[in-house]
Subunit: 207 residues, 2 copies
């Protein structure tokens, strides 16, 4: 899986019985589309006379959405990598007690990594939703629907990342790790869900 | 824009100040990812001893999700085409009364097409959500999170298609057309939104 893969190939691989790419890759791509759509609205606001007053803010917002887009695009491949690490750990030998214990440790380590990657995706999607609000309020009103499109994409990325975190947390025995990461996830969802809804309704109310 | 375009290029074009691809393309791709993820779960259920009893249903569901995936993938390019038609119509000459009237008619015709394409996307996304429910209930429970991922992607596609329909309906003067298409959209949203929520919560409840 690479960012140079054609869209059709990505969709074919997603639909196939191969275990990767899966929901995590789709989540990261959704988030990246969300960030890209906010960038588009910034790009269509910057340089326009009518929006000269907000130009400094729009440039700053664009810088942030482009960083998020880069991060989320990279997470498409990261998701495949951590999934494969978990699978590899489960395939380790388990004939002796020593092997068993090494295998268990490897599974735990890989599962933690497979929790951290969707957490990063969830955090980046939440940030896209956060940036959508000022862009909806200040950006070029001719393309405000694209801000609405962006929040729905970021919301999908966030909700899917949440599921992927929960699956992996379910296999982790380190209670402190589970509590910490579950807490972070709950906090993100609590803040982002109503904000995403608010921005979407704000945009919809314009038509 | 073609389905053979690399993911990175699609995201770069989406983020750029070029007017296409935009939210409509992102919506169709989200829907196609949703369909692909349901197909994946079907593919990972078919042929498994444990799920032999539901195999005929899963095969039928797979056929339907694959049709929807093909349709939604094609709609990525269709969205660009209808957007360009609207832009072309606005660029028509308007020096004489005859030209003015021909231009108005062309704008109206193109706007109707630009309403029909997101309606098709919305209908296909709604169908993905509908098919997600039996797949969540009967499919391979090891990959049930991917059904959750699928409904969030289809929901994003549906909500963005709704915005794109509303924009275009706002410029159409044919009241019968507006009433008919607005009614179809409302009906889809009313049925799909609670169902998507229900399937997502069902999946989340498994972890």
């Amino acid at each position: 899986m690479s960012q140079q893969q054609p869209i059709q190939q990505f969709l074919d691989d997603l639909a196939s019985s191969a275990s990767t790419p899966g929901g995590g890759g789709a989540a990261a791509l959704s988030g990246a589309m969300g960030a890209a759509l906010i960038s588009m609205v910034c790009n269509l606001t910057i340089g326009k006379k009518k929006y000269a007053e907000v130009e400094p803010q729009m440039k700053e917002l664009l810088e942030q959405t482009e960083q998020l887009r880069t991060q989320l695009t990279a997470l498409i491949a990261d998701d495949v990598a951590v999934f494969n690490s978990v699978m590899d750990a489960y395939r380790l030998p388990k004939a002796t007690d020593e092997e068993k214990s090494a295998r268990t440790e490897a599974i735990q380590e890989a599962s933690k990594q497979a929790t951290v990657v969707p957490l990063q995706a969830a955090q980046a999607c939440a940030k896209v939703i956060e940036l959508a609000k000022p862009v909806a309020e200040m950006g070029n009103s001719n393309v405000i629907s694209d801000v609405g499109a962006a929040v729905t994409a970021a919301q999908s990325g966030l909700k899917t990342s949440a599921l992927n975190m929960l699956i992996n947390l379910g296999t982790i025995t380190d209670e402190a790790f589970v509590t910490e990461h579950r807490g972070k996830l709950d906090q993100i969802i609590e803040a982002s869900e109503p904000l995403a809804q608010e921005v979407y309704e704000f945009v919809k109310g314009k038509f």
